[in-house]
């Protein structure tokens, strides 16, 4: 017997607005100073009223458009009611039956070189407020639990997929693509450590029967997973667990209701969460404190225009326009839009996309990591790096010399300039000598003084050329080793 793995995800993404969704409080991540980013509205004080933050709605619509969703012309706010200490009003303002968007899709590339693509349909995406954070005493001494409401009221988009994912790896790839998409269009930082992206996974199996039919196992929702790796691990474990359970009990979706489990990263296993005695009734109803929102086609068109080129399109363009491998394109695009722009300026400026990609993915990336910088604060502007690399393509500098210049530029206090490149090249005599006469003279001299290696080379010992090239290079400072090699070999082969 075999089975298919069926996975649907619910992803919560915090939008990166300056202020909260229904009040003016800051959304900054600030766990060290609890409850300072609060006001009567997000504290749920008597008499306080919510007012929609238009920027949150704008970012939410951009999110949905990037997910190829339909945007509803009319949407409203509903109260989802339940008691929990991190929920100061006793209800969460969310969207129930008329979400602002629905029916989209994301195409996930499931093989490294762009071979297979899995289309994951998006059922809906809606906007809601985040709750606060409860902190329970973990000392075992039964101290009070604490509540921090700094996060309460942060705008969240909840994205619900159809059960279209077929493996734990696909689920991870989907989340990675989603993060890339949403960071790229600037709607969320998707910082999982800070809880900006959280995921629930609905998992079950379709078990193939001898007669060709399939039987579904009960659905399990694994809640609140906060990393891509954990998502993958949780699903893998869940698949294994459900398969063993099915073989033992033959329980199907008809025999058991959907259950909820947590994931323990330390043990790599899911565990049963305490079930409520009866199904939760959230008693959704339209929030009378808020007015419905209408969205016009013009507004949608404007926001769509602001999206710009999405990562998938950029990946294809980098392949066609700069002949980059899917891997190199991916590395650059994963670093975000600003990084991609930097790359494009360098690639256009030096006329060699492949060379630009090599520098970006190696030299620049290494320096950024070591210095803890972002591309925005990198002291070598894109046009300056382009100028440096153009000297390599034009055979004015060797790659080695270019690296030396790059290092020298980074040692400077100020932002690098092309004039500074000029000065470093001159000071250190790094320019390639284009004087064929001088090179040829040095070659003749070296051949004359080294009969043994010359004879070895002529006898077929290719390595013997290395020592001779080295001597020519020492004699003509700044010569291009490639050029020296070519001319030396030509001379020896005469």
């Amino acid at each position: 017997m075999s089975y298919d793995v069926i996975i649907g995800l619910e992803v919560h993404v915090q939008l990166q607005t300056v202020s909260k969704i229904f009040c003016g409080c800051s959304t900054a991540f600030n766990p060290d100073q609890p409850n300072v980013q609060t006001c009567p509205v997000c504290l749920g004080l008597p008499g306080a009223l919510p007012v929609l933050n238009a920027e949150a709605f704008r970012l939410a619509v951009k999110t949905a458009l990037a997910l190829n969703c339909q945007i509803a012309g009319f949407t409203k706010w509903d109260r989802k009611q339940y008691f929990y200490p991190d929920l100061p009003k006793g209800y969460q303002i969310s969207q129930y039956d008329l979400p602002f968007s629905h029916d989209g899709h994301v195409d996930v590339v499931t093989e490294a070189d762009g071979g297979a693509v899995r289309r994951v349909r998006i059922l809906r995406a809606h906007l809601e407020e985040d709750a606060g954070k409860n902190m329970h005493d973990e000392s075992g001494r039964g101290r009070d639990s604490l509540v921090d409401l700094n996060r309460a009221g942060t705008p969240l988009v909840e994205i619900v997929t159809h059960p279209d994912l077929r493996s734990a790896e696909e689920a991870r790839l989907f989340l990675q693509d989603l993060r890339l998409l949403l960071t790229d269009i600037g709607v969320s930082d998707c910082n999982m450590q800070e809880g900006s992206l959280r995921c629930d996974a609905n998992v079950n199996l379709h078990v193939h029967q001898p007669d060709g039919s399939k039987v579904a196992t009960p659905i399990v929702e694994v809640k609140n997973i906060n990393s891509f790796r954990f998502t993958e691990q949780a699903i893998l474990h869940e698949v294994e667990r459900q398969w063993e359970l099915y073989q033992k009990t033959k329980q199907t979706i008809k025999d058991a209701p959907k259950s909820t489990r947590g994931f323990d990263p330390a043990r790599g296993v899911t565990y049963a969460m305490r079930e409520k005695e009866e199904a939760a009734d959230y008693r959704y109803f339209p929030d009378p404190d808020l007015v419905p929102v209408t969205v016009t086609d013009e507004q949608i068109a404007t926001l769509r225009g602001e999206l710009g080129e999405l990562p998938a399109a950029r990946r294809a363009r980098y392949r066609d326009q700069y002949q980059l491998s899917a891997y190199d394109a991916g590395v650059i695009i994963d670093q975000g839009r600003e990084y991609s722009r930097y790359f494009e300026v360098v690639a256009e400026g030096c006329g060699d996309g492949k060379q630009a990609a090599n520098w970006l993915t190696q030299d620049v990336q290494r320096e950024l990591n070591e210095r803890g910088l972002t591309i925005a604060t990198f002291p070598v502007p894109a046009d300056v790096l382009a100028d440096l690399l153009k000297r390599v393509t034009n055979k004015q500098l060797t790659i080695k010399a270019a690296r030396e210049v790059f290092g020298a530029l980074l040692e400077g206090e100020e932002t690098a300039t092309t004039a500074r490149i000029e000065a470093i090249v001159a000071e250190r005599g790094l320019a390639i000598v284009q004087d064929d006469g001088a090179i040829d003279a040095a070659i003749a001299d070296v051949i004359a003084r080294n009969p043994k290696p010359v004879a070895d080379f002529k006898a077929g010992k290719q390595q013997a050329a290395g020592a001779l090239i080295g001597q020519v290079m020492r004699a003509v400072k700044g010569a291009d080793p490639q050029q020296v090699r070519e001319r030396l070999i030509a001379k020896l082969s005469e």
């Binding site: 008597p46 100061p88 509540v147 008693r283 109803f285 009378p288």
Partner: protein, 490 residues
């Protein structure tokens, strides 16, 4: 000595502005009246003598320095104890918020302070504004100044009684199903519920958000117009507040409406209306006829569903609005809790009164899965039909006139064990809340037994100017608003 408090608001404002009377003197007189008479009226939950005198003196000092004071000119005002004022307790007459002090002020409080009001104290009410007699207050029962054994009405019991008992010239109330107009009628004062969205609800502790409006009480129409003018207008902190200019209600007040068309609904005179109330209302209609108004029969066919619709929508919203009082963040917390669920259940069980619990249970039921469509959604549909009735009526008439409440003030304790009888007190006032239209109760005279009877006028959305002018026409032609309860005569 004739008390300043027997003077109408318009006259007090004129004297204050002219400097004939200081705000401090008037405030002192209010405080003296409260200390003399409030032990029997029990309109106030909290009076801050020092604070109100300081406010009054500051206004007087500013006036003396030639600064302009707002249109309220230093008038003392009582505030229903569910409108938040920074640094002041806001109990909602509930054990739940017995020790709650608001860290911020409601929009109307900011507006009133800017307009030169002196906020003397906090008026009693039914707990969380749920009730029609004031008897649901967790702290005290307010008496009707006309007969201390009778109810002043509710839920704005203290606000109405304070004005009727001549303790303050004006007060603020809130009206969700009649909570301003019904007590105004029973206490013989003017009470106005504005159009939904005319006055910001920011800082008004919510009972039923889609129905609640803050409104004024005063001894005459001018006072109500003045107080409305001081607080109406757009507030970006309330999404349901409407951005629409506010006319000067006081300026046009004394211009009679020529060719006034008054709608009279058959439904307002059907079974359930006491004869002595019907008689006073009919006489009031005669007054209008004598002033040249045209009386036109109209129909409000869906008004018979109003009470049923109201008791689905209001408790549904209330069950949600009152969920925040759970003992975790503020308010009453039980001392006996074990589990978290137990903490919620006990804190709420201990601190909410019977009527509040009843309405929460009704609302939770109406919103429950499986019942939602049948109850809540259906109620919303009928609510729309009720609004349509009014729209059709206001195509033909300028105002609708009728009774405010079926009877005169009933005896305290008389209806406390019969919630249905209590709920029917609001049969004529609830439709205006459901439709979002403005309504006013004005004194129309005394019943044969000597108790006040109010006349209700209702107008189209945002037609407060018409409503007030029509009310003033009646008032100018009668003397009912000059009647003062015997206990308050000096």
């Amino acid at each position: 000595m004739s008390s300043l408090l027997n003077l109408p608001a318009a006259e007090l404002v004129t004297r204050l502005a002219a400097g004939d009377v200081t705000s401090a003197a008037l405030t002192e007189e209010c405080l003296a009246a409260i200390s003399q008479r409030d032990s029997s009226v029990r309109a106030f939950l909290n009076v801050d003598v020092e604070r109100s005198l300081a406010q009054a003196r500051s206004i007087d000092a500013r006036r003396a320095a030639g600064e302009s004071i707002g249109i309220l000119q230093g008038l003392p005002i009582a505030v229903k104890d569910l409108i938040c004022e920074e640094g002041v307790s806001c109990t909602c007459a509930s054990r739940m918020l017995e020790n709650y002090i608001s860290p911020y002020s409601a929009h109307v409080i900011e507006r009133l302070r800017a307009a030169g009001a002196v906020l003397v104290g906090r008026a009693n009410m039914d707990e969380f504004a749920m009730g029609s007699s004031g008897e649901n207050s967790a702290f005290q029962v307010t008496a009707n100044p006309w007969d201390l054994e009778r109810t002043p009405g509710g839920s704005s019991s203290g606000s109405a009684a304070a004005v009727a008992g001549r303790l303050t010239p004006m007060s603020l109330g809130s009206d969700t199903g009649g909570s301003i107009r019904q007590p105004a009628s029973l206490c013989g004062v003017v009470g106005l519920k504005p159009t939904y969205g005319r006055v910001s609800r920011y800082g008004l502790v919510a009972f039923a958000s889609s129905l609640d409006q803050i409104g004024p009480f005063a001894s005459d129409v001018h006072g109500a117009a003045l107080l409305l003018e001081a607080m109406a207008g757009h507030d970006p902190r309330d999404s349901t507040s409407v951005d629409r200019p506010v006319p000067s209600y006081t300026n046009s007040l004394n211009e009679p409406l020529k060719g006034l068309r008054i709608g009279v609904a058959r439904e307002h005179f059907a079974e359930g209306l006491d004869d002595e109330v019907a008689e006073v209302v009919r006489r009031a209609l005669d007054v209008y006829r004598s002033l040249g108004a045209e009386l036109i029969d109209i129909e409000l066919p869906h008004s018979k569903y109003a009470v049923a619709v109201y008791y689905l929508i209001a408790p549904s919203e209330a069950s949600s609005n009152l969920a925040r009082y759970e003992g975790i963040h503020y308010g009453h917390r039980t001392e006996k809790a074990g589990s978290l669920a137990d903490l919620y259940a006990r804190s709420r069980g201990e601190a909410f009164g019977t009527e509040v619990k009843r309405r929460i249970m009704l609302g939770v039921y109406a919103l429950s899965s499986g019942y939602y469509d049948q109850y809540y959604v259906k109620a919303l549909k009928v609510r729309r039909l009720i609004r349509n009735d009014f729209d059709a009526a206001f195509a033909k008439v300028d105002v609708i006139a009728g009774p405010v409440t079926p009877s005169t003030a009933f005896k305290l304790g008389e209806r406390t064990s019969d919630p249905m009888a209590m709920y029917l007190s609001d049969i004529y006032t609830i439709p205006a809340n459901l439709a979002g239209i403005p309504g006013i109760s004005i004194p129309a005279g005394l019943s044969p037994s000597g108790l006040p009877v109010g006349l209700q006028l209702q107008a189209a959305p945002f037609a407060e100017e018409t409503l007030l002018r029509a009310a003033r026409m009646f008032e100018a032609a009668t003397d009912h608003h000059r009647l003062i309860p015997p206990m308050a005569r000096s």
